[in-house]
Amino acid sequence: MKQQIWQGFEQLNNENTNKHQEFNEELPLLGDATIETSRRDFLKVLGFSVSAAAIAASCEMPVRKAIPYVFKPEEIVPGIANYYASSFINGSDYCSVLVKTREGRPIKIEGNTASGLTHGGTSARTQASIMSLYDMHRLRYPKKDGKKTTWKIIDGEIAGKLSGVSGSIALVTSSVISPSTRAAIAEFRNRYPNTRHVVYEPMSNAGMLYANEQQFGTKAIASYRFDKASIIASFGADFLGTWVSPIEFASQYAKGRKVSRENPVMSKHWQFEGTMSLTGANADKRYTILPSQEGAAVVALYNALSGSGGGLSDANAQKGIEQLAMELKANAGKSLVVAGSNDSNVQMVVNAINGMLGNYGNTLSIERTYNVGQGDDKAMTALVNDMNAGSVGAVIFYGVNPAYSYPEADKFVAGLKKVPVSISFNDREDETATNVKYLCPDNHYLESWNDAEPKSGYYSLAQPAIAPLFDTRQAQESLLTWAGNTSNFYNYIRAYWQANVFGRQNKFGSFNAFWEAALHDGIFETDNPNKTKGTMLMAGESTPVTASSDTTRQQVAAAVVETVTEEAVTPKYVTVNAANAISAIGAAGKANGMELLIYENVMMGDGSYSANPFLQESPEPISKVCWDNVLLVSPKYGKEQGWKERDIIEVKAGNYKVEVPVIFQPGQADGSCALAIGYGRTKAGAKEFNVGKNAYPFVSTNADGTFNYVRGGVSLTKVGVNYALARTQTHSTIDDERFIVGLASLDTYKKDKFAGNAYSKEWDEKREEGEYFTLYGPDIDYGPHGESYRRGHRWALSVDLNSCIGCGACVPACHIENNVPVVGQNEVVRVHEMHWMRIDRYYMGADTENPEVVFMPMMCQHCENAPCENVCPVAATNHSGEGLNQMTYNRCIGTRYCANNCPYKVRRFNWFDYHSADSFYKDTVFDNDEYAMFNDLTRMVLNPDVTVRSRGVIEKCSFCVQRIQEGKLAAKRENRQLKDGEIKTACQTACPTEAIIFGDFNNPETKVAKLHTNERNYYSLEELHVVPGVGYMTKIKNREERPGIDTPTPKEHTADAGHGAHQQPAEGHGAAADTTTVHGGSH
């Protein structure tokens, strides 16, 4: 049976709605105005250019200055990067990082491999956070009543006003994962005993807090070990994308998914959810249920496990629940059940299920808990009521923006106006800050000292990588100042660590040595949650992280944190009473009418990242929409309504309505729709960032006081058509007739090691027989046959589709490493996005309502037989002896023939001067320079080792050639051979699941060479015989065989419907370049 693979409905239905004729476009030489060119005009232009050239030629060279440091800091050598261990903290988002600085300015974030939580992985948000340091719209000084003031005045006034305040003082923060900050807050509360500390998170996990508080007496989120679970069941929890600690979970999850012939074992992942989440897209078994039925589904599982009756009305889902229950029982103590619902009743039943399965102490622990996700919905609701009642005398906002994100924002703002003293630490004049009296801007995290304990026992430190750019002050120092403590926060953290953390280890005798080591590694991890002396588990013996030696970027030996025991797991059964919860869920029942699910977007989060151009331009992993939020409805519902994708729909519930574009989302539960939060900001910064519509006002409240992200009784009305949507997936469709994704079930793989990869095997055999089709003549001196490619190194990449979860961390990482420009919403609509690497999302199977999903990172394949190289008229793109498909910008004249001829659609053309690299200033597409990188502030993020491209040239993935050269040079200087894994590409270091491996293909001992010769390895569009340097490892799913989705063997394929495209490409669909391009003007 033929493999069904499609990227969007345009492709499935063979529509051309989003096809964009890139190559028919006029060059925007004269802006948008079209001018008829007459002979006279031509002569005028010619005359002008000749005289301009003459003037330019006669001009003297500009005098350039070189200004050395007067007193050069010892650790800085100009031109050499320094790395400092630090921690990215934004509310509940945490990542242990290394900050790459050049000449004292941070330019890139890397993961910290010493961390036992993130293991060197990062997220898109972590990667992009570097840009928020250089944000044009940060507050540059303190303000009072909207006017510039000084810290001295502010401190004087606030200290007086806080002492004399009538009523309570409210400190509203996001989750505070920094223990020292908590101590500072405690000190503040000692000074002002009428202070209440309200933790507010717009995307709340309060349900879990309340459930654990009721059942275990611990108001915190339990810690999870997805790597220890053989069966993972998630009810709407997007634990790979947004839920609790996604980087950590992605790393754990991937560990259980690395499958090989020697170890053909992997976890089995079940997902029951209302909309297609990133996690659901990775599931082995996925069931679509209505968002309001999550509770009922959890109860059904509880009943199936406990043997009591009562299940879901949906027969298909019920069948899944029953099968899941059987597998869970068989894996007692080795399974994990999680739910994303914010209803404490649902979470209590989940706790009961995990207790019944003996998972406590094995795959999850209530002793070791998270400090993230501390948002207390009831406290926040109470505060807003009190503010309106006038009983709050002062309010301080720290990293929260309720005027935008609180469901009843109007009520909140009305209450805020009644508070006499209002203070904000927010870094910009956002929706909340514009309504407060004193603006006391906080430093960026890269300018701050801080510490963190995201999970108990896992400490980490944050150190400033740059002096504050503006006249800002750390929020903690402000709090301490007002509390009467004049200590700076650095000394404060040290003192805290000396008193509270130092004693938890016994490796270091002196505090100074301990502090230096912890600061150097960025982390300190202990298995002893008590404050008595325990075993020291720290990366103290690992190689240096921060030193300026050339090998600093290399792997740091991972800290020993918790060893995964191989021995048999003993289930620890815990009886958790959930009877009341079950009846409460039953009583709540199903929501009325159309349900709206309000969900968090992997890129944009709760809205605090809105002003980050890299995140705005990184496509959402599933819908592939950027710069916007869209209404997701099921394809069935959309068709029933007679809508088309990109129609504009009015969404109305209660008194609130928004108009948003609609797309048909496979995997969306019929009878429900979904809208992402994080959009619809009004004061994020530049107007370009105020995109999308605000979904927060749709949030309601559950019976237990938690925020309810499922809204029933929503009405949808079509009000317009043809919204200009920036959606990247269908911009570069690869034809479905071809072998793109290798997919097989685990069972088949166990039987046949070439499962899902028979094409590759067939082509290998043909090649050996000399029987292959190549577009560009026989490969005489190309590829593996050419001697010059075997001389020294030959760089290659391997992507494990089984590990790739599609989170998109690599996309902004690549952007930032390689100075890839952000082009803005309008340009993405015109198919001008510049991503060097993208993650293709494929839907598999004929079921448009619940297809399987495969993510495939796609970048330049560095073909040995590259189709792009032989069409370039000026040889601007050619092949290096090390297997790199080189792109020489200064030679490129912009014919774009190469882009047209590339079967993978990975070449990007600079339609405008996105960086103002030309001397002609502001010859750009942007109305203003707010989010482009050509003002003095934003340009600071550019990587000085990579050319900034000007208008009119093609660019594409270079395999991070600057890193290759740097690594080679370091080895030469040190008189040694290159080590495997020494050189890492930016996408590789960003990846939380180690899905991308880079190395020297010519050395058979390298990881990448071994992966390329693995039987699971295949090349994309292998039949074209372009001999790519990027290999893909087939995706293996732990489920039964599914014909029509799994990759068939070629014989089946050709016998089935006579699709012989790969054998006779000259017919029918034509040559590769033609069938695989949507851009292609040759159609």
Binding site: A57, M61, V63, R64, K65, A66, I67, P68, Y69, V70, F71, K72, V77, P78, G79, I80, E787, R790, R791, G792, H793, N878, S880, G881, E882, L884, Q886, M887, T888, Y889, N890, R891, A917, D945, V946, T947, V948, S958, V961, Q962, Q965, K968, L969, A971, K972, R973, N975, R976, Q977, L978, D1000, N1002, N1003
Partner: protein
């Protein structure tokens, strides 16, 4: 004319030999003095001068003050002498703010040589007699020479032309006398304006102009021989040439990374805390370093706010070129002078090379890689085999990808 030139030459030789004969009687020619000078400049000069106080006391007259044994003990381990309670030593230590003179591992002979050096310096102060006029004279001679040759050439050419005309006319006359029919001679003008000549001249003009255009176009943005005036009249000749300071003492980045690094004035202060006056500009130029660092030479402290020095950048590469000093200096073992010229002889630094791509590529074609000496190249097995089998005699940079675009452009 010629006799005048010879006269000049004679005078110059006389001058040189005079200087020679003077130096022969100089106590400075003594081996002990020279060794002493080298040791003194290498190890002592950062804290001591002969006749003035720097960090430590002036050394003039030291032999009158202390005996040789005491001096030897002091130099080898001053703190031991202080601890032994020697009253002179204690007094000296206290007088100089208890700044410790480090122990020097010098032999008695070396110390003796230093003392000889100091003695000679005191007894024979250097006469301020700059012989700066001589080179200018020499330059004049060579200029005259060129002009002279040019005039000679011109005259000879003219003579040749006249003679050839004369022989031509005579030949014609002889032939006419012999009764031969001689065609009308071509006039110069007719030859000049004949079609063939015009075509030839056009071609020559085209080639010359084309060449000039290409040359000019290529040199756009190039700055060979660029020698701007710098904010401080720093002389590489004095530092790298005369005083033989290693290039990488100041340009310390050259072996470590991309940038060779222009040293900050704080590095200058390592020496110029002691060396307060220069030989040419006296205190003026060195004073600029003090101004930049905020150093007060009287109180010997950094008192004023630092002020960065804005040097004029001489070597500029386009933004699309990646150049790494350590690749060439450390990995390639290329001498600084290969690209920067004889810097140690330049008072005012200028750009030696074109820094054009052709210049880079030529060197990459010709330069041999230290193929067996650096373990990095072990990966290149095929080339090693070829070398072993004498298929190739050497491996140049271009053999291992030195001409590929992304070696320098990314």
């Amino acid at each position: 004319m010629q006799s005048k030139f010879l006269l000049h030459l004679l005078a110059l030789l006389l001058l040189v030999s005079n200087v020679w004969s003077v130096s022969a009687q100089d106590p400075r020619a003594d081996a002990a003095y020279k060794e002493g000078e080298a040791t003194f400049k290498g190890q002592c000069a950062s804290c001591h001068a002969v006749s003035k106080q720097v960090v430590g006391p002036a050394l003039a007259g030291i032999q009158d003050r202390r005996d040789a044994a005491w001096i030897n003990n002091w130099v080898k381990n001053s703190q031991a002498v202080v601890k032994s309670g020697d009253p002179y030593a204690v007094e000296l230590f206290n007088k100089f703010n208890k700044s410790i003179m480090p122990a020097f591992n010098l032999s008695d002979k070396q110390i003796d040589n230093i003392l000889t050096y100091v003695k000679v310096e005191v007894e024979n102060p250097v006469a301020a007699a700059p012989a700066a006029a001589a080179p200018a004279e020499g330059g004049g001679v060579s200029n005259n020479m060129t002009l002279f040759l040019a005039i000679i050439t011109f005259i000879l050419l003219a003579v040749m032309l006249v003679l050839s005309r004369v022989t031509g006319s005579l030949n014609k006359l002889v032939k006419e006398k012999a009764g031969q029919l001689v065609p009308d001679s071509y006039s110069w003008m007719s030859i000049l304006f004949s079609k063939k000549a015009l075509a030839f001249l056009t071609l020559v003009a085209f080639i010359l102009l084309g060449y000039a255009t290409v040359e000019q176009a290529q040199s756009l943005g190039r700055q060979q021989n660029y020698a701007p005036v710098q904010p401080i009249k720093f002389s590489h000749k004095i530092h790298a040439g005369i005083n033989k300071i290693d290039c990488q003492y100041c340009h310390s980045g050259a072996s470590k990374g991309k940038s060779a690094v222009i040293p900050g004035p704080s590095l200058c202060m390592n020496c110029h805390k002691a060396i307060k006056e220069g030989p040419v500009y006296g205190k003026e130029e060195i004073g600029k370093i003090y101004a930049a660092t905020g150093w007060n030479p009287d109180s010997m402290k950094y008192l004023n706010p630092p002020q960065p020095i804005e040097w004029v950048r001489i070597h500029n590469l386009p933004d699309h070129v990646y150049f790494n000093h350590s690749q060439h200096v450390k990995a390639g073992n290329v001498k600084c002078q290969t690209c920067h010229g004889e810097v140690q002889e330049m008072d005012l630094l200028k750009q030696h090379a074109t820094l054009g791509m052709g210049w880079c590529v030529n060197c990459h074609r010709q330069t041999e890689v230290n193929f067996s000496g650096n373990n990095f190249y072990k990966d290149y097995e095929i080339l090693h085999d070829k070398l072993k089998n004498d298929d190739i005699s050497k491996v140049t940079v271009s053999d291992i990808g030195g001409l590929e675009c992304q070696k320098c452009h990314y």
